[in-house]
């Protein structure tokens, strides 16, 4: 049976008195990569946070495969958010970060998964390195590997390349698409860069 994927249904989010997201809807098919394109302040990061369960909705609903997950706590949703600045755990090494979301797997399986993902993102021998020794691009590769490790239903990427320089950004955008494709994961990619959106996504959604 084919999954129905993600349905975001007329959601609204408030910060204090400000309505940051108003009546936003979206559907995402399994395996599809969507870019959410919009200027800063258009609420695109907030939409991702709401889907991840980090912001309460004041209206609307979110469903996965037809099942309402609006009130499911973040850690049970299986939607992984990759932050703009990676948010790698500074007290863990590279392998420790990648393994964080798959701690319930038995040791050997987990190690194999970590190695497999580090290879996917092109950092095969980096497992024992401390986070502080990574360059900006490497850190985001590790963050991607960490996000893909628990096999998320949806991968949410919040401007993952915005802190990198232009040349690296262009190259990594295409690579990220290849990596997500390789895992056959559905993803929402937030950016304010049109060329980045085109390079990564199957479909671009514009936000005003």
């Amino acid at each position: 049976m084919v999954s129905e994927g993600l349905t975001v249904n007329h959601i609204a989010v408030k910060y204090g008195q400000n309505l940051v997201v108003d009546d936003f809807s979206l559907t995402l098919a399994p395996g599809e990569i969507i870019a959410l394109l919009g200027p800063s302040g258009s609420g695109k990061s907030t939409i991702l946070r709401a889907i991840a369960g980090l912001e309460p909705l004041v209206a609307g609903s979110i469903a996965w495969d037809g099942v309402d997950v609006t009130h499911v706590p973040t850690h049970k949703r299986g939607f992984v958010l990759m932050f703009q600045d990676g948010q790698l755990f500074p007290h863990l090494d590279v392998a420790g970060n990648v393994a964080y979301g798959i701690n319930s797997l038995p040791g050997p399986t987990r190690d194999a998964r970590v190695a497999e993902l580090l290879e996917l993102v092109g950092l095969a021998d980096y497992g024992k390195r401390p986070i502080t020794a990574l360059s900006g691009g490497e850190a985001q590769r590790v963050a991607l590997a960490r996000s893909l490790a628990p096999v998320p239903k949806v991968l949410l990427l919040d401007e993952p390349l915005s802190s990198l320089d232009t040349e690296l950004r262009g190259r990594l955008a295409a690579e990220i698409r290849t990596m997500i494709r390789a895992r056959d994961t559905a993803a929402i990619y937030v950016t304010h860069d049109t060329s980045e959106a085109d390079a990564v996504a199957d479909r671009v959604v514009l936000l005003q």
């Binding site: 706590p73 992984v80 932050f83």
Partner: protein, 546 residues
Amino acid sequence: MKKRMAWVLAGVLPLAFLALFFLWPVFSLVARGFQDESGWTLDAVGHTLASARTVRIIRQTFTLAVLGTVFSTLLGLPGAYVLYRLRFRGQRALRAIVTIPFVLPSVVVGVAFRSLLNSTGPLGWLGLDGTPTAVVAAMVFFNYSLVVRTVGALWSRLDERTVQAARTLGATPARAFVTITLPALAPAIGSAASLVFLFCASAFGIVLVLGGSRIGTVETEIWYQTTTMLNLSAAAALSIVQLVFVSASLLLASVVRRRQQRALASRATVSQQQLRSSDAPVVAVTLLVIGVLVLVPLGTLVYRSFVVRGGGLGLANYANLATNASGALSVSVWAALCNSLIIGLCACALALILGWLVAYVLSRSPITRAGRTTITLLDSAFMLPLGISAVTVGFGFLITLNRPPLDLRSSWVLIPIAQALVALPLVVRTLLPTWRSIDPKLRQAAATLGASDSRILATVDLPLTARSIGLAAGFAFATSLGEFGATSFLSRPDRPTLPVVVYRLISRPGAENFGTALAAAVVLAVVTATVMSIAEALGGKETHGW
């Protein structure tokens, strides 16, 4: 070259003070432990350390300090979360309440718990008066805010997205706390815990007032052996034990503090969150701790100070402050307060001048390895008085500064000097973060605009550190007002300070003495708290860092 001279001078002056008024007295006292009529010997020290009494005292000191540290930390963590990480109405008031115990003189803390726990107190039926439990409770009362403030300062700056990243990776709130938040807080927890341990292991006033004759720690034992038994070698042996305790925890504190500064460097902005229903249990625990542990002893102290003979309420105890009717003292309590204020002002001025110089030197980050090592050593050296038994300092003064060329034994100036020593580490800790936070580029900019070194100091460094100087002055003054360990040795019968008077009153029998002691303790508490709140208002919010 001229610049280097200024540096050296700024470092040498406080070092000379430290050497003359701290290292020399302390080492003389320790050396005395290794001497008898015939010369150098280890017998006396060996004998003391092997005795059953000493072993019991050391074990008791360690047990009390560990318990005090564990409970302060366990209760302080939820407090740090509620008072610094969350954001709600009335939070400022709660923070202020929590800070009160830490600035209270130890004698006042002791008297407050006595008023709560003694046979006529509201919790007298618990039978806790004079028990280790009472001492540990007072230690937690005293150090709770240290944990709350130190851990809270870091917690309020933790990026909440790190925990959110863990949550989207499937971590439950509990797992995210244990695997992400706790490790991030570890430096602050370690730093606070090692300082709390230090304060607990060297607690003197609390133990003396609450422990009675049943509880002895290394600190009170040094006092007992020197003043009552006149056994200098035993006291010296115990001072050595205390030195080991203190050096170990100071070393630990300095290591974790270094790590915390590194950890803090990356996060500048405060991120607090709104109160949520899931926070209810932690908030409840914190309110309970603040109520039972902080407000009840303070409230009891104040209330009972107004209870007069026969059980009614009145001002009789306060009237006694002026008259000294009971004859327990040679001066009135008000006269003692005057002594305290004058001595406190002198101590405060001395500690500020020295502390400012020390902070100036310590804020440098030299390029050479040797330079960095020197700074680290200096840093530790000026922290030493924080934990060295104040009793040791006081007694060391008496035996070293009693002969020409420096015969100060009969002079009251020894008291402010000793108190300045005790306050110096606090002053340095308060000033240092501000000194360190001055961007060197500001000085470079001033220099390119034609400012000389002295003008840079006056127009850049001084204005930028002014606020923390106000705060440091408050700390120094309050510390001096409440100092009891060293002062109890140096204070002369005709010119006692207020804490000394409070202790004399509380340790004498009689309801009237007890009532006057409570009133005097309230006065001391009010004066100290006023000084601190003025300083905090001058210093701005939450500028102090440990």
